[in-house]
């Protein structure tokens, strides 16, 4: 008797169509598979932007739909990146070490190879021993599992502790900031086992795929990011529709009412928080191989605040709003800070956008909050009359 989920949410179809067209367009314009208008580095920027859109959708679900203003979701994004980075770095270094030792007169032993990898990876922090947390780094499968498990478990434990103590509102936001700050500070230490402030680098070199070249690899990651964004979008559209959507929007609007209706509010928050953290981890695992490097600065508290700003500017409480906000603001941000925007000479002073971009962003954020609480996505309401 019930219409299918897609039929009830035509905006999902429209989004998937737009994403498919965009992907096709970029493929046609790419160096590797098309006419070559777009440079490989720009393809990487677009691929990274898709990953940022994915975490923004997750942020929209946890904040815009469930009302939990998490200012720590970038920690999960970073952990996903570190998890995949460990395998990339290990496997890549193993290739190099094996190649160089092959030229030796006596074939190297397994121990010599492992020692060689250790020295290569941890030399920068004055060590050559593999820390415990690298135990699975030789296996792609296990590290992919870590992409899901590490952010998921951290979110589960953190959320369980916070929600069962009924920490809500701004206090919860502060707590999530503290979490991401603590994690960043920990990772900055040289003995954290993840190379301190050097982070993991060379992640753009995918082991075993050297012969393909970056132009091709960048397209593969671009496609993977597009597929992940599409799948994540459908997943979250499904979660936020129907009765589940009713309950989590109810929690946002009046938590105690939901509780007195017999719903265990904490379980719902934990479910949403953990699910979005896992998706954030996956987004990070796709982002950092395109960025090439991850270091603890990536998960500094400011990153998670930017995430909230993107979602607010794009429009909270609608998934496509989050995508628009993340894409628009992050691309604009790289245009302004990358020196793309022309400076404005005022005679007595010249506005350099590299310095003034943050001011512009801050002013836009305040303006959107005050005058357009529905964000950019709210403009769609003028195009389509939403029937209740």
């Amino acid at each position: 008797m019930e219409r299918s989920f897609i039929m009830r949410n035509p905006s999902v179809l429209w989004f998937l169509l737009a994403l498919a067209l965009f992907t096709l367009g970029v493929t046609i314009l790419s160096e590797a598979f098309g006419v070559g208008t777009l440079s490989t580095s720009f393809i990487k920027t677009l691929g990274k932007t898709l990953c940022l859109c994915l975490i923004a959708v997750a942020m929209d679900v946890v904040w815009g739909y469930c009302g939990i203003l998490s200012l720590g979701h970038f920690a999960f994004f970073g952990l996903g990146g570190y998890a995949i980075g460990m395998w990339l770095m290990y496997a890549r270094t193993e290739e190099i070490v094996v190649n160089s030792l092959n030229e030796a007169a006596i074939p190297p032993t397994q121990q010599e190879i492992i020692d060689g990898i250790g020295t290569q990876i941890f030399g920068v922090v004055g060590s050559s021993e593999f820390p415990m947390i690298w135990a699975f780094s030789h296996s792609l499968g296990l590290q992919l599992l870590m992409v899901i498990l590490v952010p998921g478990l951290l979110a589960l434990v953190f959320g369980w502790l916070a929600f069962r103590s009924r920490v809500t509102g701004v206090y919860l936001s502060i707590l999530t900031q503290a979490m991401t700050l603590a994690l960043a500070l920990y990772l900055f230490q040289n003995d954290s086992g993840l190379r301190g402030n050097n982070g993991l680098s060379g992640l753009q070199n995918i082991p075993g795929l050297d012969h393909l070249g970056q132009a091709t690899i960048s397209m593969w990651f671009f496609w993977a990011s597009a597929i992940a964004l599409g799948a994540g979008y459908v997943l979250f559209a499904w979660v936020t529709s129907g009765k589940m959507g009713s309950v989590i929007r109810g929690i946002r609007d009046d938590e105690s009412r939901v509780r007195f209706l017999g719903y265990h509010v904490e379980s719902y928050k934990l479910f949403v928080f953990t699910l979005t953290a896992v998706v954030a981890g996956i987004a990070g695992a796709l982002y950092y191989p395109q960025a090439g490097i991850i270091n603890p600065a990536e998960i500094a508290p400011i990153a998670s605040i930017y995430l909230a700003v993107w979602v607010a500017i794009g429009g909270r409480g609608r998934l496509y709003g989050a995508v628009i906000g993340a894409a628009f603001v992050s691309l604009l941000s790289s245009w302004f800070t990358g020196g793309g925007a022309p400076s404005i000479p005022l005679g007595f002073y010249t506005i350099q956008w590299t310095d003034w971009w943050l001011v512009l962003l801050g002013v836009s954020f305040v303006a959107v909050t005050l005058f357009f609480p529905k964000g950019i996505g709210g403009l769609f309401d003028y195009l389509v009359r939403k029937d209740p």
């Binding site: 008797m1 019930e2 979660v239 129907g242 009765k243 589940m244 009713s246 309950v247 929007r249 109810g250 609007d253 009046d254 105690s256 009412r257 939901v258 509780r259 007195f260 209706l261 017999g262 719903y263 265990h264 509010v265 379980s267 719902y268 479910f271 209740p388």
Partner: protein, 246 residues
């Protein structure tokens, strides 16, 4: 009529102030009961204790045939056991339609995964229609709850309680801010609900209580001052002193 809820010897203090002082109270099933009392008599705290929002320092709250203690249960577990609560201010989910509001309240498994895989059923739809009819919102099912009038929101909230299939309804000042015609409808709703379950109505308005025509419990300084028919309690000298002495 068997006893459904028994509150005995309950005491609650907030920073030394005794909001509830050795309170005892019983209600059967089905029964309609009005609880009246001046401001600060502890009426809302009394509801908070039953629904698990506030834990008392002393005393017992015993529920149902199996005599389970509500004190060890969470708010949501108490609600699932069959206690429905209506707040003083109408609290409905304004952003959602009347139908969605009622659907959320329907008695169904309440775990996150049950809800995630939940499929609408014909019985559920029927039940929603039935309740909408009862509360007079049949034509409003597709409207946003936030667009309803104050009185309609109050009815919607009562409808949400009915959708839960409760055994005990706690209703805080249902008639506040209503027109006379709306009050009449509200009285009918409550009286009909009380035919099948236990209903406790907290009310300031004596005229409304008179119309309910039920046993009245008077609270004062966190304890029961008098109990009986409205005529009986209004002639009680203590009650007169408390109400008029202020």
């Amino acid at each position: 009529m068997s006893t459904l809820l028994e509150v005995s010897g309950v005491t609650v203090s907030f920073d030394g102030f005794r909001a509830i002082n050795n309170l005892s109270f019983q209600i059967g099933e089905p029964e309609l009961r009005a609880v009246i009392g001046p401001n600060g008599a502890g009426k809302t705290t009394f509801m908070d204790i039953i629904t698990g929002k506030t834990k008392p320092d002393e005393g017992r709250v015993i529920w149902g045939e199996k005599s389970v203690s509500l004190l060890d249960m969470s708010e949501s577990a108490i609600a699932r056991a069959g206690v429905g609560r209506k707040f003083q201010k109408p609290t409905v989910f304004e952003d959602q339609t009347v139908r969605e509001n009622l659907a959320m309240a329907l008695k169904n498994p309440r775990g996150p995964f049950d809800v995630l895989w939940y499929k609408k059923t014909a019985q559920g739809a029927e039940k929603i229609e039935e309740i909408a009819e009862e509360i007079g919102l049949t034509d409003e099912l597709k409207r946003r709850a936030g667009d309803l009038s104050h009185g309609q929101k109050q009815w919607l909230e009562i409808g949400m309680l009915l959708a839960q299939d409760p055994r005990l309804l706690l209703i805080d000042e249902p008639a506040a801010g209503m027109t006379p015609a709306e009050r009449e409808h509200t009285t009918d709703l409550i009286k009909r609900a009380a035919e099948t379950c236990a209903v406790v109505v907290i009310e300031h308005d004596m005229e409304f209580v008179r119309r309910l025509g039920c046993k009245v419990t008077v609270l004062h300084e966190g304890a029961v001052l008098a109990e009986g028919s409205l005529d009986h309690v209004t002639q009680n000298q203590d009650v007169i002193d408390v109400y008029l002495g202020r």
